[in-house]
Amino acid sequence: MRNKYVFDDQTKKLPLILGIDTSCDETSASVTLGRMVLSNVIASQTNIHQPYGGVYPSLAKQAHQEKIMPVIRLALKRAGVDFVQLDVIAVTLGPGLAPALEVGINQAKKLAHKWHKPLITVNHVEAHMLSVLLQRKSQQMSIKKLLRERTGHPNISINYHQQPEPAIFPVLGLVLSGGHSQFVQINNFGNYEVLGETIDDAVGEALDKVGRMLGLGYPAAPVMEKLARQGDPDKFKFPLPLTTVNDFNLSYSGLKTAAHRLIKSLEAENKLTQQTILDLSASFQHAVFRHLAYKLNKLLEHRKQKNKQQQGKLKKDQLRKNEQQKDKQFFSQVWLGGGVASNINLRQTIRRILRPYNIELQTPFEKRLCGDNAAMIALTAGYKMSYTRKNYLQAQLKDLDRKPSWRI
């Protein structure tokens, strides 16, 4: 899927999009050309807060408000693009934190109005799911030259949605982050079914919380990942949640409580040494991923059985016809997005589950694209232009409102 970009006439018609994301802690802006990331600026607040160690994000509205224009300008500058050249402006409408979303939406509205650009609103979770489709900027092509010919005309053709080939659908989308944990069946762009999701804490959240109990600061999940490499994942045993329930939902509250109790008792006995913390990190992370792997496997197994049953019902001649497409109903790929997707251990765990099913795991091409970022917002807007019937060229700027709990 990550074949080199072919720079032909069609490529020239790819939409040039400015994406903006302020769904929670991060202020981010990005410029994409089709699937290609020209720039992706994230004013990561995590960098700002680490020195405070234990003091938590200054997420004051001002933080977003002060950063948003500089971040947008920097994104355009790095991409070598001017406002005039843009085809579309894209912004996250939800889900997320309402006042934070508002900052991005208002800014996007202003810019769209000022520069007469259509505005496309994007679902943050959908964007995480599609983030694997982002591609590296092609080094061989002179993007500058290409862009020079562009004036931001709105009648661009959007053929690039045919890549990847629609034949690969259905795809299983896996969004694992601090705020979301979902299994989603992607039937096509814009056609999604949630198959399972967390009923309490998101995967990243569980890791962050237990990390904080261990005094690993914020965000703790990446620190835990590092510590886990030096620890023994089998040192502490954690339960496997929701094994008796016949759905594909995730639950982390039980694991979290078990970890809390363990840490308390270790503390009380004065046994919380450095090695213990390493072992605990490894063991807890292992338990978190084991639960995920268990549910993923259950989902795939269930789907496979269902396919078999369906095929059993078909007549023989139909069966022959279906022979070639017999796996068509089954997932050919898993698209993994969200902050936790950058965890190598998680990727290994998932690959191990997918191998017997012959499913390919796709992940974003760089770590930065796993966490919250605007490149995925711009990318999704591009696909959205191709699958929605709504005419975005007449943007309904007035009616636009944030959707803090928007489900895909």
């Binding site: 929670c24 003091v55 997420l59 889900p95 934190l97 967390t198 009923i199 309490d200 509250s253």
Partner: protein
């Protein structure tokens, strides 16, 4: 509609007439030691439907039932040890004791938690009537929802629409009743009796005296949350409600929030708001539409950061706001005063203690 004046010597005649009406799916208005009640056969679905039309806008409020004896009560509800003590001490009398239902009553009588309020009125005529009829009748007050407490037949009739009047078949007029308070409602389905209305058996809980519940399962914690909200439903509609939840990790704060959502009939899964600080769910409970805001400011340490969330804008009628980590949050939000504070404590793996402070 027929009105019979109750005199010293026409009791049996009145009872006979009332029984005839009840048997015929009819609705009667009768006096009790508190206010006038509206009665239909509590096991008869047609009759109960009629009563619900009469009462209008119930919004999930259960109808209590009047029985003549403890034995009769036990046909309809499971009387636990605690309820038994209350029955022995307080009934007959102006008390409604809530127990788990046995699902032997018509639909709409039990609450959404399948609990039923039982009255044994301290009123000779009604005890005799129910006893002779042999089945429970509903014991809800005779006013339409939200209207004046009915101490006289005029109180009732003056506040009814023609449609409602037409639903009544018989009024037993005992003149103007002494102005006794409506019955005190005591819920015994929780580990601690929860007084839903009235002065209560003990003195009304004050600030320093919390209600203490012990929950034995997640579901029970959710039920407790639902019942507490139920008690505040009027306030939610008029002013909104702010709840502060305190308890260590795993104490069940999010479970409590799930109970709030159950009560508000929210279908979405309530997940932890730690990452986004705030999650918003719109609800529609019996045509009352509002928002449930679930907050977790665990990650915040500064007042200015908390201000970013514009909490004041969330405080509105019909809105329910629940803060997790309230003991931590209150420092950040000195301007917010919760109506209820709940302290959750882990007792064992499954058991949780809930201390509820009502402000």
């Amino acid at each position: 509609m027929q009105i019979i004046k109750l005199t010293h010597n026409n009791h049996q005649q009145v009872i006979d007439q009332a029984i005839a009406v009840l048997k015929n799916n009819g609705l009667i208005i009768y006096p009790t030691e508190t206010v006038y009640g509206a009665g239909v056969d509590a096991c008869n679905q047609v009759a109960v439907a009629k009563l619900l039309r009469y009462k209008t806008r119930r919004e999930g409020k259960p109808l209590s039932i009047a029985v003549a004896s403890q034995e009769m009560a036990k046909k309809y509800v499971k009387v636990n040890e605690q309820a038994q003590k209350l029955y022995d001490k307080f009934l007959p009398g102006p008390y409604t004791i809530i127990s788990k239902g046995k699902q032997t009553l018509a639909q709409g009588v039990a609450s959404e938690f399948n609990t039923v309020g039982v009255r044994i009125p301290q009123h000779q005529l009604i005890l005799e009537l129910v006893n002779q009829y042999g089945r429970a009748i509903t014991a809800t007050s005779a006013n339409a929802s939200d209207k004046k407490r009915p101490y006289s037949v005029d109180d009732i009739l003056n506040n009814l629409s023609l449609k409602q009047k037409n639903l009544i078949e018989l009024i037993i007029d005992a003149g103007t009743l002494p102005r006794n308070e409506p019955s005190t409602v005591i819920d015994t389905t929780l580990s601690t009796p929860l007084t839903l209305r009235g002065e209560g058996v003990k003195k009304k809980a004050n600030h320093s005296q919390p209600l203490i519940f012990v929950s034995h399962s997640e579901q029970e914690t959710r039920d407790i949350a639902g019942k507490i909200l139920f008690k505040y439903w009027e306030q939610i509609k008029q002013r909104g409600l702010v709840i502060g939840l305190t308890g260590e990790l795993g104490a069940g704060k999010t479970i409590f929030a799930k109970g709030i959502a159950d009560f508000l009939q929210i279908k979405d899964i309530i997940t932890s708001p730690t990452y986004t600080y705030l999650k918003e769910y719109s609800y529609d409970r019996y045509q009352v539409r509002g928002c449930f805001h679930h907050l977790d400011l665990w990650r915040l340490d500064q007042t200015q950061d908390a201000q970013f969330l514009q909490i004041e804008q969330l405080l509105a009628k019909k809105n329910v706001i629940a803060f997790e980590w309230w003991n931590h949050t209150k420092k950040l939000l000195p301007q917010v005063k919760p109506d209820i504070e709940v302290e959750l404590k882990v007792l064992t793996t499954e058991k949780r203690q809930l201390k509820v402070y009502e402000k």
